[in-house]
């Protein structure tokens, strides 16, 4: 009898050990996807920053309390179908216990994945999308519990631009605002909010124009804005690195001479200086990151710790790409890749310390996260309670053309106008 009882106990113990063994060697897997090619241009900097960040985390950065992260990086070519297919593939190939977080970058990818991410997989998903529909009042944590954005919504960004117009308008008549937007979900995002807010503030929206990515000429659009007597123009839903942006700004400089050009996050920064030259001078934009990457690069102010960290990383790990004329054209993009690596690590470390290194555990720590993001916002902390990082800053471009040898080259930077603003604290 005793012998018979002994056998099942041994079997049970063996089973426990067998089951425990794989869990002890459980990997921590994360997937990140960036648009490194496609209609937004060639942006390998995303990947460079992410790769350097992840390698640093696993070697010198402490990993996840000593454990290494198994990371995957994909270029989804600004194609939502590719982004969705990649995610599905990784879900099929990796277990839920190991595949703990994913990141994406566009609204077009978020929408088809709503069910998959938030209901089926329940995996924390960080995204570069600033979609008002998904992260604004109508969406948010109640509707999309596993979606997190790394920036303020376009609705909030556009409203801040309208606010700037109202506060900086000189003259007794109501300010006249034109809006140029791309015919995409991104371009249309935030428009109703901006128009409604403009009405509330007494700013007349005199023209709304869709300007396509395929544009080879912006004369019609600029002439229409001139006819509407717009004094301010918000250019929204475009990449600052692409041809259409250069064409629009260069044409606008000639046709809309006294008009204040403005824009949202992705048309604020260094790339437009490179492609638009002095046509970009005087541009006022909002951005969710410190866009401090001057032309030439050595003139970049280094008082922001995260900016300094990014530049130090790039100098150390990719000196040839970092040098002027190298592959890193815009350090924002490099910093963005690094930022994703660091927030993934922070979430994983916090969840591990809380003893719940699972998808649900990570969601819990993200929901409660209050963090200064290694000084990204000048020391200010943000809260992730509404699933967006609600920090925005105004920037103004100062660009001059300088003769270098026989060639005229643009020099300058986008410089902050004031401190970081927490949009969650604004009573619109």
């Amino acid at each position: 009898m005793e012998k018979r009882a002994f056998a099942p106990i041994v079997l049970a113990l063996t089973l426990v050990v067998a089951l425990a063994a794989p869990s002890a060697s459980k990997e921590i897997k994360v997937l990140s996807q960036f648009p490194m090619s496609g209609p937004v241009g060639t942006l390998p900097e995303f990947g460079m920053g992410y790769i350097d960040g992840m390698n640093w985390i696993n070697s010198e950065g402490g990993g996840v309390n000593g454990k290494k992260i198994t990371w995957f990086l994909e270029d989804f070519r600004y194609d939502p179908t590719v982004e969705v297919a990649n995610f599905n593939k990784y879900c099929a190939e990796h277990s839920r216990e190991e595949f703990l977080m994913a990141t994406g970058y566009i609204t077009g990818g978020l929408k088809p994945l709503i069910e998959k991410v938030n209901v089926e997989e329940k995996i924390p998903w960080l995204d570069g999308s600033y979609s008002t529909e998904i992260f604004g009042v109508e969406g948010g944590p109640d509707k999309y519990p596993y979606y997190y954005s790394l920036g303020a919504t376009y609705g909030d960004q556009m409203k801040l631009l309208v606010k700037w117009v109202k506060e900086n308008h000189k003259g007794k008549e109501r300010p006249r605002l034109g809006i140029v937007y791309s015919p995409t979900a991104w371009g249309r995002d935030g428009l109703p909010e901006a128009v409604a807010y403009a009405k509330k503030l007494g700013v007349d929206v005199v023209s709304q124009i869709e300007y396509p990515y395929t544009a080879t000429d912006a004369t019609n659009e600029c002439t229409a804005l001139r006819k509407a007597k717009a004094q301010y123009v918000i250019y929204h839903g475009y990449s600052g690195a692409a041809s259409y942006t250069a064409i629009f700004f260069k044409t606008a400089k000639k046709i809309l001479k006294d008009v204040q050009l403005m824009g949202t996050h992705y048309t604020t920064g260094r790339f437009p200086i490179l492609v638009c030259g002095d046509a970009y001078d005087g541009y006022v934009g909002v951005a969710t990151r410190p866009f401090l990457d001057a032309v030439p690069r050595e003139k970049t102010p280094m008082d922001n710790p995260m900016v300094k960290m990014s530049h130090d990383f790039a100098k150390k790990y990719r000196p040839a790409d970092y040098a002027e004329g190298g592959k890193i054209k815009d350090m924002f993009l490099y910093m963005e890749g690094l930022t994703y690596a660091l927030i993934l690590q922070e979430a994983l470390v916090r969840a591990d310390k809380a003893g719940e290194l699972t998808r649900l555990g990570i969601k819990k720590v993200l929901d409660e996260m209050e963090w200064d993001f290694k000084g990204l916002f000048g020391g200010k902390k943000f809260s992730y309670r509404f699933h967006t990082i609600p920090m925005v800053q105004y920037f103004k471009a100062q660009v001059k053309m300088q003769k270098v040898g026989e060639k005229e080259v643009p020099t300058g930077a986008v410089l902050p106008l004031g401190d970081w603003i927490n949009v969650d604290e604004i009573k619109w």
Binding site: T214, T216, D217, S243
Partner: protein, 294 residues
Amino acid sequence: MADFLQTLGSGVLVGMVYALLGLGIVIIFRASEAFNFAIGEFLVVGTFLFFILFFDLHLPFLVALPLGLAAAGVAGGVVERLTIKPLLGRSPISMTIVTLGLASLLRASVQLIFGAHAYSFMLELPDITIEIGEILFLSESLWSAILGSGTFVLVLFFLFGTRWGVAIRATSESQAKALAIGIDSRFILLMVWALSAVCIAVAGIAISNFGSLSYMTAIVGMRAIPVVLIGGMDSITGALVGGIIVGVCEAFVGSYVEPMGLVGFKNIAPYILLILVLFIRPYGLFGTVRIERV
């Protein structure tokens, strides 16, 4: 009235560039009955060759332009030797299909070499902006029309005022007859492709001067399709008229129809017009009517 004139003028100016693109298609079609679907990629390659000489090597404009265009012509000739010549004697459809593959190959090569981001592109030509009251024609638009129409005239002179031009036209009429009177049709075909590449490169330079150059500039090449189908696939006059019609159509739709809420209609309007024209004149406005016995 000012609005109308502004729109009409803008359309005609851009139409001159479209006409040049159309000419690039027509001269190949006349010589070989093939349609060059790689026109957009030819445009980008030719413009990048000029870009290297002018912006990277800092050659003066008047040196960089002929050198760049010569390089574009050589590139066109090389492409013909490698991809089109082996197909001589076969159906023109084969050549047309090859140009589809060629488009992919050239696009990928451009992305590999130059990347996919935009390059700032401003020629800094003398400012000839015309501004009369409400009417404004930008210097870049005027220069693009000057470059387009100037090249168009030069090509016409080459085709109708030189012995080479006579040989090209003879080959276009009948390859067999041209061979019979001692014209080297194979060499003529090479020359036609080179000439077409030059026309397309000029159009590319004119268009890029609006602000920038990237692989995506190739999309302009697609404008040549309605141009030549409206004007007539084998008609040089048709390319000119078709180019202006498409330019004016886009401008009017952009100014008067799109503001009514039909956003993006500017891009499809030339194709709608094309369908209407083809209903009435299946060979285009100036195309040769062909009656084939079956």
